[in-house]
Structures are given as structure tokens and as C-alpha cells.
């Protein structure tokens, strides 16, 4: 469904999931550490600005911190620890999810956004709420 992207290779079989773009990697390892041209022609077909230039820099950690102070991956780990196994896996089997994941038409751009909506569930605070009600009812007796 998607045009072919350049093959990415993982930099290490262990540690974080860090992947390196082959075109970037090649150019970054050339004598001139700054990319002097755009990406390969097949990238241009994705309507990418063809004059974007990348570079490797020792300032990368500072620059990434400067882009945003927020660390949503921390929140993700917290939520995963709270989540109950197997709950929600059915969502991955729905035709809406599969249609979004695989894409269709217009170079895969149809169904590019999937919005899942609903009301809040019966979470732990609702159990607390029920407990409080039960306690109050006992006190009323």
C-alpha cells in the first residue's frame, strides 16, 4: 500500500529501539559531516521539501530537550503498568483499526486518522465512589 521507503537498519540489537536512516547514515559518515543535499529521489515523491538538510551534532541532547520539556513516554510506561493484560486487544482486530493501519486509496492516505471516542469507563475511582456510597449507607442505618 505504501511507496517503498529506504531500508532502515537498527543500530544495535540491544538497548533502545534506535534506527538509522541509510541515506542519512551514509552522508553523516562522509568527510563533510553536514548533509549537502536532499534525500534520495524516492523520498521526493512523498512531497517532502527537497532542501531539508540534516546534520549530526554534539548538541543533539540539548536540542531535543529544547524542543519540548515534556516526556510522554514516561506517562506511557506508567499507564502500561496499570493496564490489565488482554483488555483492549479486541480493538486491534476491528476493521476500522486494520483499515487505518494498512491505509487505502490515494497512496494510502484514506483513513489516515482514526478517532476512538467514548465515555469514561468504570475505573478505580468509580469503585472508590461505590465504596463511599456503601459506607455512607451503613452509617445511615
Amino acid at each position: 500500500m505504501s511507496p517503498a521507503f529506504p531500508k532502515l537498519t537498527r543500530t544495535s540489537s540491544t538497548g533502545p529501539k534506535v534506527f538509522r536512516h541509510p541515506t542519512l547514515y551514509t552522508i553523516l559518515n562522509s568527510k563533510n559531516q553536514t548533509m549537502s543535499r536532499a534525500f534520495t529521489d524516492n523520498i521526493n515523491s512523498f512531497n517532502v521539501s527537497n532542501n531539508i538538510i540534516f546534520t549530526a551534532t554534539d548538541d543533539e541532547p540539548k536540542i531535543l530537550a529544547w524542543l519540548s520539556p515534556l516526556e510522554p513516554q514516561v506517562r506511557h510506561h506508567d499507564i502500561c503498568e496499570q493496564r490489565v493484560d488482554s483488555i483492549g486487544n479486541w480493538l486491534l482486530e476491528t476493521k476500522e483499526f486494520k483499515g487505518w493501519y494498512n491505509g487505502s486509496g490515494n497512496g494510502g492516505s484514506n483513513h489516515a486518522a482514526l478517532f476512538c471516542y467514548g465515555e469514561p469507563g468504570v475505573g478505580k475511582s468509580y469503585i472508590w465512589y461505590k465504596r463511599l456510597l456503601a459506607r455512607n449507607e451503613r452509617h445511615d442505618c
Binding site: L64, I79, I87, G99, A113, K124, I127, W128, Y129, K130
Partner: protein, 218 residues
Amino acid sequence: MLTGRDGSSVVIDHLCDQVIEQDMAVACFYYDFASREAQSPTNMLGSLLKQLLSGLGAIPVKIVQKFRGQKKAIGGRRLQLPDIVEMCAAVTSLQRTFICVDALDECVPRHRLEVLGALGQILRGSPNTRIFMTGRSHIRGVVERELGERTTSVSISSREDEIVTYLHARLGKDTNPAAMDGFLENDIMKSIPEEIPETYVPARDPRNRCDSYTDWCK
């Protein structure tokens, strides 16, 4: 039982598993009502860009130049939203990219419009990008309006078997189990599946940060 937040984490985990085998990138963002002021569009989109660049291992020269030049102006200033969106569109075009945004309803309304506009720009510039969002149903209209016909909306609701599984798991983790008795546990297991709330808003209740239900009853 599936909440929007669980749905987001399930999808993000699933996508992260795919990253190992496929050429793709994943970035996520969780809105939180308690942090809504800090979660400005600039910080939110900047966070997505930060995650995507972390995976690439290289920085656009334009960003490097802005970073080095910004210290000369009013003691330092952040990258502006249009620049962030432009860079996001460029970086997402390098590889198949999935962006997941949880609890859009907990975003400040005026920020939500800006963020949806920015996400729409990214999609237009990068047709192979996929965006997954969750939120309460009252924002469905604005999501579909801002992202147009690219959007598919799907209702997620609780399934009875998941409610029972969830309740058993939560009750098993109560940090003060001595305060739970058989009568109350039976009441919870019977009544909650029958009363899926339509109006109660646990996500916005600060009490849901407590791990022990009994602590709150003291």
C-alpha cells in the same frame, strides 16, 4: 473494560512491537487535565518532533541554527509552532510514521483546534503518516471537521467480560484489602457491570490518583 487511555496504550504497544520488524516510527502523547496548561501546542508538537528525531539520530540544520541563534534573543526562546509543524511533516515523510494522541478532550479547547490544525498539516505533507486519537464523544465533531474525510471515527465501549476482568484485577491490587469484605466485593462485582456510568467523570477526579479505595473512605 476498555477506557480511552487503555486503548491508546494497547495501540502504542502494538505499534512499538511492529517497529522491531518494520521500517516505521512511533510517537505518542497523553493529554492530562491536571497538566493542561503545560501541554501547549508548542510543547505537544515539540514533544512529537523530539521523539521522531530521537529515532533518526540526526537533526535538521534549520533546527540546529535556530537553537544556536535563539540564545541571542530575550535570553532564549523556543522553536515556533509553524517551524515545528514543518519539521514534523518533513521527518514523517522519511518513513512510515504513527502518531498517537490520547485524551484530546483533556486539552484546552483553543489548543485543541491548533493541534488538530497542525496534525492536519502533517497529514497533508506526509500521506503515509497515520494518526490515532482518543477522546470523549463531545469532541468528535471538531475532530472530523478539522481533519476532514481522512478521519474514521469509532465508538469504544465497555465489554461485560472486560469489566469483570478489570474489577477482579483492581480489587486484587487494593493496598488495604482488610477493609474489603465479602458483602462489599459482591456488591461491586454485581452492581458495577450493571451501571456503566454515562455521567461520572473519573478522569477529572483527583481522587483517582489514590491506589487504595479504602484510604479515601477514612
